[in-house]
Symmetry: C2
Subunit: 536 residues, 2 copies
């Protein structure tokens, strides 16, 4: 518990191990032992189908040593036993075939060794001087995502992929940074320099809007846009009220006519419309907006068209399902997450852009590193120093490959269909929404309320919501399997008011249909136990 | 080169390897072989003192397969040979004792196995449901950084470290996101809701400024602030002209009286001053602003005080050097990077905040995940899904520990002193700035211009700049060692105009004083060769 700054002078004691600790070899006893412990821990962790321990979250704080760096280093074996092992034991097995609640899933074998390589190389792609070869690798991986979306000819990629003044994509730590980056580009392009005024980048939002006679700037998109759009609207200075969330239909797709009307109304009020956002794989429902219609609308209006395909982008690998994303190739910017349906570990987002010059709107320099005209990737990015996750993105695209990505996507959508069918077969459940892709929204129905939804009183509706909330929490606490929950206002239930929905995400290639039935069995059993008055 | 979407139907072919690829075991042949290759690659990489190959950056694009995901997966062995091995061979050995040019350096052994663990566990700390035990671990690691800066009593940390409505720090992917987060908090707090108006978060920057009668909002700090501050000023809607860079003295410390005057002038013009920024370890020079004076100034003015201690924060571990940061404990927010002087790999930034409620100003929710009142860390953060880097941060604080961090810091500062002394002893070099910490700015002097600076003509000054630029590029290309360069306007050379400076960063514990002499020897030899007309 004691901080270094409270400890007596004993600098000498730490000196001996320091040289060993930083030794340029992997052959030290410490490293080999720790590596072996990690292997054992991961083996046990991945080998179990349990989602988590039965120790509740609230009790976990007590397991830890407390705030403060010890003066003397912990012995590695002790630290593993006291901290690492409990952390692993009480973490979430996001790779379990019974963890079907969030967008995190089983990963291919190569991400583990390559993550060690990335840490060992410790390249920093912000600049060539700290990541020489990683720079072209990152550019190539991003060009491949660009090609997946925009499918330009070979010559286009030969010309632009490695050209230092061109940017086909920006690698980020995740989808939120990618979405913010896309809308930052849109904002700066819409409010660029004009005559005497330097534009938003130089003069700020208030001056740039006033110069053009606008009261405010807005972004339009579906009610099901990810909450990173709120972060973007806030950070970029538009304010959350500058994010206009337009109603969706019963399958969760934005109503394009409403969006068109909203756009006209904003313009009539003098608002500057910065961007129209299409969603390709809503986080709540997996639903996909009519991107072609949105592209046409944005094109007519002369407005930046951004597609948030953080989840759904890899459907482009599937001949069967890529038609659902028709129009994405007309987007100005597209977000795709590596750590979602490219089956890579956390920390990999990307935004690709149709125009190789678009990212110039956010370019910055610094004398000690990012000089004008340099090939440094940090010139055009929200983030600065960051890990060489391009190695994992490139490896995923090559070691998994297009056919296997197609098979993964097709299997996920098929699995969602199977779960939806199982839900329809069971009177205890109600499907809330026909799945567009591989996310299924449904709910549990208490016995007295089955098959009689038309006659439910407001109290009945509340009871159903409460039952689903309790059920999801009980299942989560029990730790054998996991389904998440959300609230949905568009499914025609609840008369426009949001209803509680269970939410299953079917991306894990290890999940079998039998396990899906078992998850539903467990939910029924838990619900019965809760109805019986006792906890499970 | 072919994209999946161009390939003939052959989905079946990928089906067999898929199950193996995601098998919940580390015992597959593929994984063991790849892991062994990674070990060999890293062994060779870390074992060499060369900084990089002699293949120039411009030639590297040709080594890669080209944009596009292949339909069929690459054979792992082929992919390693064709892509991974060349990437490693032509990357930058940031751990080399002769790489003394940037803030990336040798790392302790445990980061390699633990990075594999992080990828294998694939927790997502955005929410408890995908990172149960990592949540309290991250909170504890951040509380430890808070303690390093603010040194509150045990009871403070017992009360707040794990309290879901309290935020002692936010873990980010790097210092840029940390700085943006800090200034986002400052902006939203200064322009909070008022009467009918929802404040900047809800109504946007233009409305919030107009409501208070301000033309614009500004941030004040040193001319040596990191360029992430430009990104922050742009992203947050202030515009780059809203970032007022105040002159520094000859040691690179902001002139507080000038900053005070600038603040008064901004206020007289009706600008809203959002924050005063102090720099603790400038990226260019390592210099440290007089934080106590800045804290007093910000306090009097009632303005948010942010300290960018991304580089210099860990000086707090050193009894000898922590006095240089006196006043940091009065900051509202402080940025500290894990991947700099906490000797951890890329991807670890943090902002800590004095007031446990401050981060409420940026709070967001989403129905499917981040619910109001939940313990989910994603409620208060710029980023969304992200890796569990808290494991590395916590491990660094415990496995290195306070004494060893102190020893590392003290050794780095001592090494900078040794390099400065060596530069002073050599007529071929000129020290440009007395180092505050462990960054040394100096330049090479062509023989005809030594010892005669007072008599230099403008052409002589240009010749010195050009010689240093050429020298730095030649050294970088040769790949045996690395020193970076920047331009500095404050050193009293160049009559206020920026001069080219060589820049050495002395953080690698493996670098010996003899190697520093060798780096200088190499620079003298390269300069002589360049003066001789031929390249080295």
């Amino acid at each position: 518990m004691s901080l270094a700054i409270m400890s007596p002078p004993e600098t000498g004691r730490a000196a001996a191990p320091l040289a060993q600790m930083f030794a340029p070899t992997l052959a030290s006893d410490e490293e080999r032992l720790l590596d072996a412990r990690v292997t054992l821990l991961l083996q046990r962790f991945l080998g179990s189908e349990r989602v988590t321990s039965d120790v509740p979250f609230e009790a976990l704080g007590d397991l830890l040593p407390g705030a403060g760096a010890p003066a003397a280093p912990a012995l590695p074996g002790d630290y593993v036993a006291r901290v690492i092992e409990p952390i692993v034991e009480h973490s979430i097995n996001t790779a379990s075939p019974r963890f079907i609640g969030h967008m995190t899933t089983a990963l291919p074998y190569f991400v583990r060794p390559l993550s060690r390589l990335i840490a060992g190389l410790n390249q920093n792609p912000v600049k060539v001087e700290t990541a020489k070869s990683v720079t072209p690798l990152e550019r190539e991986a991003l060009a491949t995502l660009h090609r997946l979306v925009y499918d330009r000819a070979d010559g286009f990629y030969r010309e632009h992929a490695q050209a230092r003044e061109r940017t086909l994509g920006i690698l980020t730590g995740g989808g939120t940074a990618a979405n913010i980056t896309a809308l930052w580009i849109a904002r700066n392009a819409a409010l660029g320099p004009r005559g005497e005024l330097g534009g938003v980048e130089r003069e700020g939002l208030a001056a740039a809007l006033a110069d053009r006679g606008h009261r405010r700037a807005v972004i339009l998109g579906s009610a099901l846009m990810h909450y990173s759009m709120e972060k973007a609207a806030d950070v970029l200075g538009l304010g959350i009220s500058g994010l206009d969330r337009v109603e969706v239909d019963r399958r969760g797709r934005v109503r394009v006519e409403r969006l068109r009307r909203a756009l006209e109304e904003h313009r009539a009020r003098g608002d500057l419309v910065l961007a129209v956002v299409g969603v390709a794989g809503a986080t709540d429902t997996g639903s996909i907006d009519p991107l072609d219609e949105l592209a046409a609308l944005a094109g007519e209006a002369g407005v930046h068209f951004h597609v948030d395909a953080a989840w759904g982008g890899p459907l482009l690998f599937s001949r069967r399902h890529r038609g659902k994303l028709a129009g994405i190739e007309r987007a100005d910017t597209v977000t795709i997450d590596g750590h979602k349906q490219l089956y890579l570990p956390m920390g990999i987002g990307a935004v690709v852009m149709r125009a190789p010059d678009a990212a110039r709107a956010i370019e910055k320099q610094a004398p000690y590193i990012i000089r004008r005209g340099s090939p440094d990737l940090g010139r055009r990015s929200l983030e600065g120093s960051r890990p060489a996750m391009a190695l994992l993105l490139h490896a995923g695209l090559h070691l998994i490959g297009g056919d296997a990505y197609e098979a993964l996507i097709d299997a996920g959508v098929a699995r969602a269909g199977a779960l939806a069918a199982a839900i329809r077969r069971r009177p205890a459940f109600e499907l809330l929404c026909e799945p567009d892709a591989n996310i299924v929204n449904y709910r549990y129905l208490p016995p007295a309320l089955r098959g009689a939804r038309a006659r439910w009183s407001p109290a009945d509706m509340e009871a159903v919501d409460a039952a689903n909330l309790r059920l999801q929490e009980a299942q989560s606490r029990a730790g054998r399997s996991f389904v998440s929950r959300t609230t949905l206002a568009h499914t025609g239930r609840g008369g426009g008011a949001p209803v509680v929905s269970l939410r299953a995400v079917l991306a894990n290639p290890l999940t079998t249909e039998a396990q899906l039935e078992e998850v539903l069995d467990e939910q029924e059993a838990l619900a019965r136990a809760l109805e019986g008055g006792g906890g499970p």
